[in-house]
């Protein structure tokens, strides 16, 4: 795990090999389940080392109709009422969890880029009127007023966009935090093979890394978009909910830090 969560590690040649290997598995539809499982496994590794870029590259190797193909393949050999095998069901669910996570991360990046790189500059007045009877001509005054208005419009359009991006990030992050029955949690027991145990261990680890990470991103977005302090209280409600028990995924230190951040936001609502 990278010491600083904001640093995105580069994709190495070795990573690229892992990403490309998935391609070989998607040629044959009957291998789609295996492809999904391998893709999930590689993504778990990437996410654990915060390689979001690489994780995204693997994810897109799986064609979007894969879940349908999986079901079709299964129903070709089993009766309609027979449910998918537990391992396939779990793999599909994991794939959807990953999709939700990448979605949250991508929209955060968009918000971040908009905030830091595309803010229009505040308008600097070019005319300094010294007295009502100064030498400024009326056409110049009109032009000046017009420039001011254009600039104000630009800033307000930028601000609107920032707010709508903020809404989007919030939705996407809550999609992960409130993923039905828990993000990266299997719904079905898949026996206890050694491989399954390792997978469970990795998923538990990722929950402890990604949920606190996304919770902190959410606070960053709410605070830096400006004036959205009240919504930080909502995050406390979600983290403390007994249905999801997200508070269990924080270490004491992480928990204390996020409470301090929430408190700092809430003091502005008094």
């Amino acid at each position: 795990v990278a010491p600083d969560s904001s640093i995105e590690l580069p994709v190495t040649i070795d990573d690229q090999r892992k990403i490309d290997s998935i391609e070989w598995l998607v040629f044959d539809p009957s291998q789609r389940c295996e492809a999904l499982k391998q893709c999930n496994a590689v993504m778990r590794q990437f996410l654990a080392s915060r390689k979001h870029e690489a994780a995204h590259d693997v994810f897109v190797k799986i064609p979007s109709d894969s879940i349908d193909i999986l079901y079709n393949e299964w129903h070709a050999q089993a009766d309609k009422d027979v449910p998918l095998p537990a391992d396939a069901d779990n793999a599909i669910r994991e794939h959807l969890c990953m999709k939700a996570y990448l979605g949250a991360h991508t929209s955060f990046k968009e918000w971040f880029k908009h905030l830091h790189t595309s803010k229009p500059q505040e308008y600097q007045p070019t005319i300094h009127q010294t007295s009502t009877f100064g030498s400024v001509s009326i056409p110049e005054l009109v032009a000046e007023e017009h420039r001011q208005k254009v600039s104000a419009d630009k800033i307000s359009a930028w601000d609107d966009k920032l707010r709508s991006l903020c809404d989007l990030v919030c939705d996407k992050i809550y999609n992960v935090l409130l993923f039905p029955q828990g993000w990266l949690m299997d719904m079905r027991d898949d026996g206890d093979s050694e491989e399954g145990e390792w997978r469970n261990h990795q998923m538990g680890l990722l929950r402890r890394v990604c949920i606190p990470y996304l919770s902190n991103l959410l606070l960053t977005v709410l605070v830096d978009t400006g004036g959205r302090y009240k919504e930080c209280g909502q995050l406390a409600n979600v983290l403390a909910s007994e249905e999801y028990k997200l508070y269990e995924l924080f270490t004491k230190q992480e928990g204390k830090e996020i409470m301090k951040r929430i408190q700092k936001a809430l003091i502005k609502t008094l």
């Binding site: 209280g233 406390a236 409600n237 983290l239 403390a240 909910s241 007994e242 508070y247 269990e248 924080f250 004491k252 928990g255 204390k256 409470m259 301090k260 929430i262 408190q263 809430l266 003091i267 008094l270």
Partner: protein, 234 residues
């Protein structure tokens, strides 16, 4: 400063968090939640923050577990209020975000009252579950828990007209569509029935059932059904 903050709990918990005193913050927030009457949403946030403060505090694990349990129970009570049917909220001219805090007895009345025209077995189940909160509220209680229990049963019974039900048939079939039976079934499958099943004689003597009591058909139905239920519980 401490003296000043003691009289301003809304600031005190914030100071306690910043000075790493999570146990005190938990206590302050629990206190704030218990005092809050004006805004249910505010109470919810105090409970959430208080619970988190408890979780991340340096108290012994057993103490933390105890606190989580306490907060969770209160969170559940808020949830009962948040899931009030829309028609009830409208009648009170309020919304989820602006409603005040209602006491458990008030919540029971809202769930089983006339305004909730389409009250179904889920609403009645919630009303029965809310009875658990009656003993530990210190408001002056109009009735005791047993009386409330009978009131909820009466209201469930009165949701249906019983006049045209065929007594010659097995009541479990002829009455399966009634709110009373659906409530019984739901309470049974969720393991709640044992703690709420009433004394049939006491139930029949309730004033609210005066009209229905005149029909011997109805009395037979009710007695037969509850007797059968008692037996399944044994």
């Amino acid at each position: 400063l401490t003296k000043f903050l003691n009289s301003h709990p809304k600031l005190a918990w914030m100071h306690q968090i910043q000075s790493d005193n999570y146990t005190s913050a938990q206590e302050t927030l629990q206190h704030l939640a218990s005092l809050e009457e004006d805004l249910c949403a505010a109470k919810k946030t105090y409970l959430s923050l208080g619970k988190l403060a408890a979780v991340f505090s340096d108290q012994p694990e057993t103490k933390i577990k105890e606190k989580i349990e306490e907060f969770s129970q209160q969170q559940e009570l808020v949830q009962y209020q948040e899931t009030l049917p829309a028609v009830v909220l409208e009648s009170m001219q309020t919304t989820i975000d602006t409603m005040p805090v209602y006491q458990p007895t008030k919540l029971i009345q809202l769930y089983i009252g006339d305004v909730n025209q389409n009250a179904n077995e889920v609403d009645f189940k919630k009303a029965f579950e809310l009875l658990r909160y009656l003993s530990d509220t210190d408001e002056e209680m109009e009735y005791d828990v047993e009386k409330w229990k009978l009131i909820v049963w009466c209201r469930a019974i009165l949701k249906d007209r019983w006049a045209d039900i065929d007594v010659s048939m097995d009541p479990f079939e002829s009455c399966s569509h009634t709110v009373l039976f659906k409530t019984l079934q739901l309470a049974h499958t969720s393991g709640l029935l044992g703690e709420i099943v009433p004394e049939v004689d006491e139930l029949l003597s309730c004033d609210e059932l005066k009209e229905l009591r005149k029909s011997s058909k109805f009395e037979y139905l009710l007695r037969a059904s509850f007797e059968r239920i008692q037996r399944t519980l044994l």
